[in-house]
């Protein structure tokens, strides 16, 4: 019989997990934790985290706090529309990652910013 133990079981020994199953990992998180869906090879399991990993931002809602991926040109971000660090080849200006900089500013490859 498939093991489904709420809280801690072999597949989901994590502090932030509220309910979980062996195959899906965390199904829901304790209050204040974020649900992050982690891809490990062919598997995708739920993980409950106090803050989202780089490349993701946290969104709180009554049903669930979730980690959502930043825009593709963005390495890290506050939210969907405000990037804090760009991917190589993109330059940060006013929270946006662009391939070119506005007039009067130049591209800094080290900081990946328009300076």
């Amino acid at each position: 019989q498939h093991k489904q133990i709420s809280g801690v079981s072999s597949g989901c020994q994590q502090g932030g997990c509220l309910t979980c199953s062996d195959y899906n990992g965390c199904l829901s998180c304790k209050p204040r934790f974020f649900m992050h869906l982690e891809r490990i090879g062919m598997k995708q399991i739920g993980v409950c985290m106090t803050s989202c990993p780089p490349g993701f931002y946290g969104t709180r809602s009554p049903e669930r706090n979730t980690c959502t991926k930043c825009r593709s040109e963005c390495d890290s971000c506050f939210n969907k529309n405000f990037c804090t660090r760009c991917r190589p080849g993109f330059y940060l200006h006013l929270g946006k990652c662009q391939e070119t900089c506005p007039e009067g500013l130049v591209r800094s490859d080290t900081q990946r910013e328009c300076v």
Binding site: Q4, Y23, L27, Q44, E63, K69
Partner: protein, 155 residues
């Protein structure tokens, strides 16, 4: 007269046995008038990953999604929308393990508008598939329509 649900053959070959291995043949049921052939690598999606169209992971190459449905996961969308979302994310077909969510089977059987194959599995067939996923055994899956023999065997 209700049309009998077409059964699916799910042929699974582990990548590591690709050349020599004989495929493991499992069965499921097509839903939503979606019976057809499909092929791709097996890829698990958490039930919560089919809730919004966030720009999450893009897969390269053909893949077949498997989702283990659980009643304890609050339904963020009707299953038909989840199936369509998985197909929009590029899946060649979607397999739903309904072993722990019997309502799902009833809900999905009502649909009739799916563009690519969607299959329900449960019990031993589901256990075999999810066992592979749990061990992260990369596998290629071929889905075909099971041709029922014309004359049922009378003992």
């Amino acid at each position: 007269l209700e049309r009998p649900a077409l059964r699916a053959l799910i042929k699974v070959t582990l990548f590591k046995h690709e050349l020599t291995g004989k495929p493991m043949v499992l069965e499921g049921v097509f839903v939503g008038g979606s019976a057809g052939k499909a092929e791709g690598k097996l890829l698990q999606y958490h039930p919560l990953s089919l809730c919004n169209t966030s720009e999450d992971e893009r897969q390269d190459g053909d893949f077949i999604t498997i989702v283990k449905l659980e009643r304890r996961v609050p339904r963020c969308l009707p299953l038909l929308d989840k199936a369509n979302m998985a197909l929009e994310k590029g899946a060649q077909a979607v397999i739903f393990d309904v072993s722990d969510d019997d309502q799902a089977a009833a809900e999905l059987r009502e649909t009739d508008s799916l563009p690519r194959p969607v299959i329900l599995v449960d019990a031993q067939d589901a256990e075999e598939l999810m066992g592979l996923v749990n061990k992260n055994e990369e596998a290629n899956v071929i889905i075909e329509i099971k041709v029922e023999s014309k004359w049922p065997q009378y003992d």
